[in-house]
Amino acid sequence: MTRQSRTAWLFTVPVLAIILLVFVVPTALALGLSVTDYSIYALADPANLHFVGLGNFADLFATPLFWRAMANTGLCALLGVPMAIGTSLAVALLLHDRTVRWKPLWRVLLFAPYVTSVVATSVVWRFVLNTQFGLLNYALRAIGAPGVDWLGDPRASIPAILLFVTWKVFGYNMIVFTAALAAVPVDLMEAARLDGAGRWMRFRHVTLPAIGPTLLLAAVMSVAGFLQIFAEPYVMTLGGPSQSTTTVLYFMFDEGFKWWNLGQASAVAFILFVLILLLTMIQTRIGRRYEWL
């Protein structure tokens, strides 16, 4: 062993060991648990623990609430990712404008919601979204629109939660995009301008290809993030109304830590795992196709 590799192992083994203990082994165990009927009965008496093969998955697929949770989560990702990424990009573009002054100040303020705790800000947002006394409905009524029963109407609850999540997270990607925009070659932009390309054409053919890889990476991370929404419904709606905000992770938490059906809950975790992996692969493939990666 060389001196370098000895040092390398000294430097890496502690963190790798911890990753192994708290991440790799449990993930493997989750796979193992998902083919058992570990439930409250097994908690009472280990003799009640059995191998059930794919039984948990079959049961899950026959459970309507599981599909609702999947649909809700899908909706979160489908609406949430464009909403969050779009906001980040729009604000980053706005900030990128040469004429805007005090950029560092704006950046810091826009980023502030990102550093706050979900538990604390969801308290605030429950008030903002309140049907009777909320700021949002106040603003809507002020412009003549009818108020919305944000957290009480099963059709409005997901958009309401996504509004909150977008507010909270957009600052992060805004900063990431700001960095990417700064790296767009100035001479290319100038050339396009001289060629008479309009704002949209310049954005489409110069800016977009330049920030493509960043955009893709942000999208991958956002999809993974939106598929893992949990704390927001946990503190704001308890999964309601009509289970419209029960996400896959919320469902998993309920099955696992509320009712202690660890077998079933691990099956849910495993499905989520596969889903995220698949989506990441698809996105990477798309990225390769457009030569962004």
């Binding site: 409250i40 908690l43 049907t131 006394f133």
Partner: protein, 440 residues
Amino acid sequence: MIKLFRRHIAVPSGTSRWADANASMPTAPTRRTVIAALPAALLAGCSNRRDPRALSVWAMSYEGDYSPLLMPAFTRATGIPVEVQTLPWTAAHEKLLTAFSGDSLPDVLMLPNGWVGEFAMIGAIAPLADPALVDDVFPSVRAAMRYGAHDYGVPWSVAPQMQYYRADLLAREGFGAVSLDWASWRRMGLALKRRRPDDYVVLSYLNWPDTLFTFAGQAGAPLLRDRDTRGDFAGPAFTEALRFYKSLFDDGLAPRALSTELQDPIAAFARGYFAIYPGGPTLLLDLRRRAAEIPPDRWAVTRMPGPRGPGAVDGISACLAVARSSPRPTEAWALVRHMTSARSELQFQAMIGNLPARRSAWSSPQLATPRLAAFAAQMRQPASQPAIVEMERIRAEVQLIAERVVRDQLTVEEGTLLMNRRVDALLAKRRALVEAGRIA
């Protein structure tokens, strides 16, 4: 098991949360008291570890908030300090189960009666050390403490669901008292709604199963069949109860609201946003505290309506149990004995409203008030639900389906059939164990 109506605790502005627990407390805090309190609080933060001599107690909601006041007497008598931790009702079940599987249960825990069987089965709580502890309690209440051949808890308080109503609003429409059978109750509700179309008649949160299960119990619905291994929700009695429940929302008598939506139900009750508020005895405490907003002559309380007059009603009756993992069972049982003594129960009744479970306490003049008479009548007619591990979950899932019926996403018939299917799936494990003869 039952999550009644006391999570939304609010306090009139300017008074302390504890103002009526101790009238001598300074109420409106000045800037100076705040500044004076801060260093003390900072110090408290540093000496933050648990007292190793202390017995730990977990209790929910008001019981948790107020039981520290029962402890000085115990500590004086035994020299053992007690630390109480309050759990919110909506997170209590998962908290207790997680603590059990993580070996971190307290010495003494409060359980609603419906959870006793579950926690006894998993071996979280110990059987009673001394059967004499439950000698004096009402037999119907005591029955809920049994699992197999043993008693596992000591009944602490009885809290049947009742209907609190705005007597002034009802009188204005010519109703001297609230109706006690479904048909005339509904007529009364419709009359009120016609007069006050923007307000509602009754508050029943769509994510809490209490009202529906009260109706089902009164209609005599069996809930489960085949030795509690299958759902029995499609029968005529439960269907009738669900229909009546749904009609409350269809006719605009009850708002389609979740518990997370209404910021302050007591204030809404005071405003007349709804005229009837089903709840347990702790609502007495809330109403006493908020007497400035809703004076006592404006409301009254009586038994819940039943299909043909009042009947058996369940409630959030609670017991105290000792964790099997407690290293000091003798002291823990001594604490349970203290907390469930007639004297403590009466003290608790005066503080938070909950009714004593001991017969001997009921000879006290403290309970002989007209308002408590209705509670006393209801107490003699408790309902009981199947004492099986899955019951809490069954209630939650049945309520989820009921919510979809109320929101017209399912018809009543589809709903009851779905309830049976869902409950059958939840009970699959139990069914297998019962058929194999592994559990009774």
